[in-house]
C-alpha cells in the first residue's frame, strides 16, 4: 500500500525523461582475465562517460556495462532483481537511503571508505560522491531592472515589492509533480519557517511551476522567465556557459546541496569489481575527473579548485546545507507526510491569490 505511492513519487523525480541508455567497455584481452562489472545509474551519459573512461583506462581488464535509467526504473529494477547490478548510483537520495536502511547494501571496507568524510557516508554502505548546489538562475534583464538577487531574503523582498511586475516570469519546481521539487521543499521547510513566506510570495507572483530543471532552463534561455528558483546546479552550468544573459546564483544565506549516492548491493554478482569501482569513484583520481570533466562537483577533501566542493565553499562560505544522509530522509517517503506537506504548500501558495485568477 505504500509502494504504489513511492512509484509515482519516484516517477516524478526524473530530471529529464530518458529511455534506457547503455554504454559498454569491453575488457582488453591483453590485460588479463576479464572481470565483469555492471553499473546501474541515474546519471546522464555526458556526465558519466568521462568517469567510466578514466576508470576503464585504469582497470582495462574490467568488462564494464553501464546502464543509465530514470530514478524510477532504477529503483524498480533493483527491487525486481537485487542481484543484477554491482553498483547502484542515483541522485534520488531518500530512495537510496531507504534501500540501504532496509539492509540492501553491503559495507565497503578499506582506507578509501574510512577516509571519506563522515557527513558524506552512512555506515560505510552509502557514499555521497558528488556535491551539487541547488541554485537560482537570474536573467540579466531582471538585475538591470530590480537589482541584484543574492539570497532568499533578496528574492522574498523582490517578490513582495514587485509581485505584479514579475507575474508569470518566475519559475520553480512543482513539488506535487516533481520528486526533486518535493524533496527540496521538505528540506527547506525544515531549514527555515520563512520558507513558507517565500512560497506564499511566489504564489502571489503567480510563479510558474515546472517538472524538470531542463524545462525551466528552456524557458529561461528563451526569455520567458526572468528568475528560476531551485534549479540543479550541475545542469545550470552548461546553460549559463552558453547563454551569457543568464547568471547562476548560489544563495549566500543558505543553499541546499544535493548529492548522488552510490552503494554496492548486498547480492552484487561481482563484488570485487564493484569495490574497485567504488574505490575509484571515491579516490583522488576519480574525483579529479568529476571536478575537471563534469559539472557534478567533486568532494574529495584533498581536492580544491574549480568544480570542487572546496571551491564552492570558498565562494559562498558556510551557507551550504548538504541534505544530511540520515533517517530524516525516510520522512520524505512517508505518504501522509507528503500529503500534509503538499497541503500546506498549496495553502501557502494560494493564500493571497484570488481563486478566479488561479484558473488556468
Amino acid at each position: 500500500m505504500i509502494r504504489p505511492l513511492r512509484w509515482c513519487l519516484l516517477a516524478l523525480w526524473s530530471l529529464t525523461a530518458s529511455a534506457e541508455e547503455t554504454l559498454h567497455y569491453p575488457a582488453e584481452p591483453v590485460a588479463g582475465p576479464p572481470q565483469p562489472l555492471v553499473v546501474h545509474a541515474a546519471l546522464d551519459l555526458p556526465q558519466a562517460r568521462p568517469l567510466l573512461k578514466a576508470f576503464h583506462r585504469r582497470h582495462p581488464h574490467i568488462d564494464l556495462t553501464y546502464r543509465n535509467l530514470t530514478t524510477l526504473e532504477l529503483h524498480q529494477r533493483f527491487l525486481d532483481a537485487p542481484d543484477a547490478a554491482d553498483v547502484v548510483l542515483s541522485s534520488a537520495m531518500p530512495w537510496q537511503y531507504h534501500l540501504a536502511n532496509d539492509g540492501h547494501a553491503q559495507p565497503l571496507s578499506g582506507d578509501v571508505a574510512r577516509g571519506w568524510p563522515a557527513w558524506a557516508r552512512w555506515r560505510d554502505e552509502l557514499f555521497a560522491f558528488t556535491f551539487e548546489p541547488i541554485v537560482m538562475v537570474v536573467h540579466r534583464d531582471l538585475i538591470e531592472r530590480f537589482g541584484d538577487v543574492r539570497s532568499h531574503g533578496d528574492m522574498l523582498e523582490l517578490l513582495t515589492e514587485h509581485a505584479d511586475a514579475l507575474a508569470g516570469r518566475i519559475v520553480t519546481y512543482d513539488p506535487v509533480r516533481s520528486g526533486a521539487g518535493y524533496t527540496y521543499a521538505i528540506e527547506e521547510s525544515r531549514l527555515s519557517p520563512r520558507y513558507w513566506d517565500l512560497v506564499s510570495a511566489m504564489g502571489r507572483a503567480r510563479t510558474v511551476l515546472a517538472d524538470t530543471t531542463g524545462e525551466m532552463l528552456d524557458g529561461l534561455e528563451e526569455g520567458r522567465y526572468l528568475l528560476g528558483y531551485n534549479l540543479l546546479g550541475s545542469y545550470v552550468r552548461d546553460a549559463v556557459a552558453d547563454h551569457p544573459e543568464l547568471v547562476m546564483v548560489v544563495p549566500d544565506d543558505y543553499a541546499l546541496v544535493t548529492q548522488r549516492l552510490a552503494f554496492i548491493p548486498r547480492q552484487a554478482p561481482h563484488p570485487e569489481s564493484a569495490t574497485l569501482f567504488m574505490a575509484f569513484l571515491l579516490s583522488e583520481a576519480g574525483q579529479q575527473v568529476i571536478a575537471e570533466q563534469t559539472h557534478l562537483g567533486a568532494m574529495h577533501p584533498a581536492l580544491s579548485g574549480p568544480g570542487t566542493a572546496d571551491a564552492l565553499r570558498e565562494e559562498v562560505g558556510d551557507a551550504l546545507r548538504p541534505i544530511s544522509i540520515g533517517p530524516g530522509l525516510l520522512a520524505t517517503l512517508d505518504r501522509l507526510k507528503r500529503d500534509s506537506l503538499l497541503a500546506r504548500w498549496r495553502r501557502e501558495f494560494q493564500r493571497e491569490v484570488p481563486p478566479l485568477r488561479l484558473a488556468p
Binding site: I2, G103, G328, L330, D334, L336, K337, S340, L341
Partner: protein, 457 residues
C-alpha cells in the same frame, strides 16, 4: 613428598579457587548490568521519538493522519548510524503509514496514560530494539486509539554496552589483582613464623638440647612446646645415660683397681703360695667383673628403645622349672632350699624366653646373695604371674623404688653390682608386665612379682 605439595600453594589454591567462580559471576553481572544500562539509556530515544511522532497524529478526513517530523527519525540514529524503522497503526492493528510493517507487542496496557513497551525483535534478519507506544487522540470528542512503533538496530547500544563492560572489566581485573596480591602477602606473613621456627631449629648446635625460646603464634607455639617436651625427655635420657656410664665405669674401675693392687702385692713376694692365693682372689674378682660387664651389656641392650625383639608364646611353668634346674646345684651347695610351685595348668604368655630366664637368674642370685635360706618360685594363672619369694632381710618400703635404679645396692658394701633388679625391671617393661616388690607373708623376706597382662597370652 611430591613436588608442589606445600602449605603455601595449598592455601593459595584453596583461597583462589573460590575466587574464580566469584570473578566469573562478577563478569556476568557486569555484562548484564552494562546491557541493561545501555538499553535503558537508548530506550529513552525510542520513548522521545515515539512521543514526538505521537504528538503529530491527528484525525483528518475521517482517518488517522500523521505529519511525520523528520527530526523524530533523526533522533533514533546516534553516532553509530543505526537503521531506523517506524510505523503507525490504528486501534485494529491496521498499518497506516511507516517504512516497515513492524510487529506488535502482545503485552498489556499500562494503568494510566500512554503504554510504553520495549523489547528486542528479529525483523528481516536484523535484531532490532523496538519501542511501542499506545496512545489516544486528545480531541474534543474523539478518543481514537492508535499505536506508534519505532525500532532501531542495536549498534549504538552494543557500543555503549562494550564501553561500560570494558570499564567494569578493568575494575574487576584490578580488584582481582589486588585480591591476589593481598592473599599472597597474607599467606606469606602467616607462614613466616613457620620459616622462623625452621631456621631456629636448623641454626641450633646439634648437641644442644636447651628448649626453643622464640615467640610464635598459638598454633605453632603448641608445636614448639611439643618440641621442647621432646627435648626435655632427651635431656633426661642423656643425663641418665651419662650417669649410667659414670656409674658403670666407676663399677668397673673398682674391681680392676683391686685386681691391679692384688697383683702388685703378690709380685712383692716370692712365695708361690701367696701367688696362688692372689690368683684365686683375682680369679674371683675377674669372674665378678666379667659378670658385671655382662649385666651392663644386657641392661644396655634391654634399654635400647630401638631393640624390639619378636615375642613368642611360651609357658611360665617351663621357665620356672628351667630356672630351678639351673640353680638347684649351686643353691644346694650353699644349703639354700630352692623350690617351685607351678600352677596346675600351663600359664601361657607371649614373651622372650632368655630374658625371662635372665630375670629369674638375677632374682635367685640376689636372694642368695642377701642371705636367704629358702627361695620359692611360683607361677599363677590369672593373671599370668611369676613370683620369687625368699626369706631374706627384705627391702624397706621406702627404698623399694630406689632399688630398681641401676647401681643401687640394697646394702652398702654388698658384693652385688646393683644391677640385678634394674635388669628385671627392664625385662618386665619389655614384656608389658608390672613389677612389684612386697613383704613376705610372715612380715619378713621379699616377694618379687611379675604380673603379665591378660592380653599378652
Amino acid at each position: 613428598m611430591k613436588r608442589g605439595d606445600s602449605l603455601y600453594r595449598r592455601l593459595l589454591a584453596w583461597l583462589l579457587l573460590p575466587l574464580l567462580p566469584l570473578g566469573g559471576l562478577m563478569v556476568f553481572q557486569a555484562w548484564v548490568d552494562a546491557r541493561h544500562t545501555a538499553d535503558r539509556a537508548f530506550d529513552r530515544l525510542l520513548e522521545a521519538a515515539s512521543l514526538s511522532i505521537a504528538e503529530q497524529v491527528q484525525w483528518q478526513d475521517d482517518r488517522l493522519w500523521l505529519d511525520l517530523p523528520p527530526a523524530a527519525l533523526d533522533m533514533l540514529a546516534t553516532d553509530a548510524e543505526e537503521r531506523v524503522f517506524y510505523s503507525l497503526v490504528d486501534r485494529d492493528g491496521r498499518f497506516i503509514t511507516g517504512n516497515a510493517e513492524l510487529p506488535g507487542d502482545e503485552r498489556g496496557d499500562a494503568e494510566t496514560g500512554d503504554t510504553l513497551l520495549f523489547r528486542n525483535v528479529a525483523w528481516q534478519g536484523m535484531t532490532l530494539r523496538q519501542g511501542v507506544r499506545r496512545s489516544r487522540l486528545e480531541d474534543w470528542r474523539l478518543r481514537e486509539r492508535f499505536e506508534i512503533r519505532v525500532a532501531h538496530s542495536r549498534e549504538g547500544r552494543d557500543a555503549l554496552m562494550h564501553e561500560l563492560l570494558r570499564a567494569n572489566l578493568a575494575y574487576i581485573l584490578a580488584m582481582a589483582l589486588l585480591a591476589v596480591a593481598v592473599l599472597v602477602v597474607a599467606i606469606r606473613s602467616a607462614l613466616a613464623p613457620l620459616t622462623r621456627l625452621r631456621r631456629a631449629i636448623r641454626a641450633r648446635d646439634p648437641r644442644t638440647l636447651t628448649p626453643l625460646d622464640l615467640p610464635l603464634p598459638r598454633e605453632l607455639a603448641e608445636l614448639r612446646e611439643t618440641l621442647n617436651e621432646l627435648l626435655a625427655r632427651m635431656r633426661r635420657v642423656r643425663a641418665n645415660q651419662e650417669r649410667f656410664i659414670g656409674d658403670a665405669s666407676h663399677q668397673l674401675r673398682t674391681p680392676l683397681a683391686g685386681l691391679s693392687a692384688r697383683a702388685e702385692l703378690a709380685l712383692r713376694h716370692d712365695d708361690p703360695a701367696r701367688w696362688r692365693d692372689a690368683l684365686v682372689a683375682m680369679q674371683a674378682t675377674s669372674a665378678r667383673t666379667a659378670r658385671l660387664a655382662m649385666q651392663l651389656l644386657s641392661l644396655t641392650r634391654l634399654d635400647n628403645p630401638e631393640y624390639r625383639p619378636e615375642l613368642a608364646p611360651l609357658d611360665l611353668n617351663d621357665c620356672a622349672r628351667q630356672a630351678v634346674r639351673d640353680h638347684w646345684a649351686s643353691c644346694h651347695r650353699r644349703d639354700i632350699d630352692l623350690g617351685v610351685e607351678c600352677a596346675p595348668q600351663p600359664v601361657r604368655i607371649r614373651g622372650i624366653d632368655w630374658q625371662l630366664q635372665e630375670a629369674l637368674n638375677n632374682l635367685i642370685d640376689n636372694a642368695c646373695r642377701y642371705g636367704a635360706r629358702r627361695i620359692t618360685l611360683r607361677t599363677l594363672p590369672h593373671p599370668p604371674t611369676l613370683e620369687v619369694e625368699d626369706d631374706g632381710p627384705g627391702i624397706p618400703e621406702s627404698r623399694r623404688l630406689l632399688v630398681l635404679r641401676p647401681f643401687h645396692r640394697g646394702e652398702e658394701g654388698g658384693e652385688g653390682s646393683g644391677l640385678g633388679l634394674a635388669i628385671v625391671d627392664s625385662i618386665a617393661r619389655a614384656h608389658g608386665a608390672r613389677l612389684t616388690l612386697s613383704q613376705g607373708p610372715d612380715g619378713h623376706g621379699l616377694i618379687v612379682r611379675l604380673r603379665f597382662s591378660e592380653e599378652n597370652t
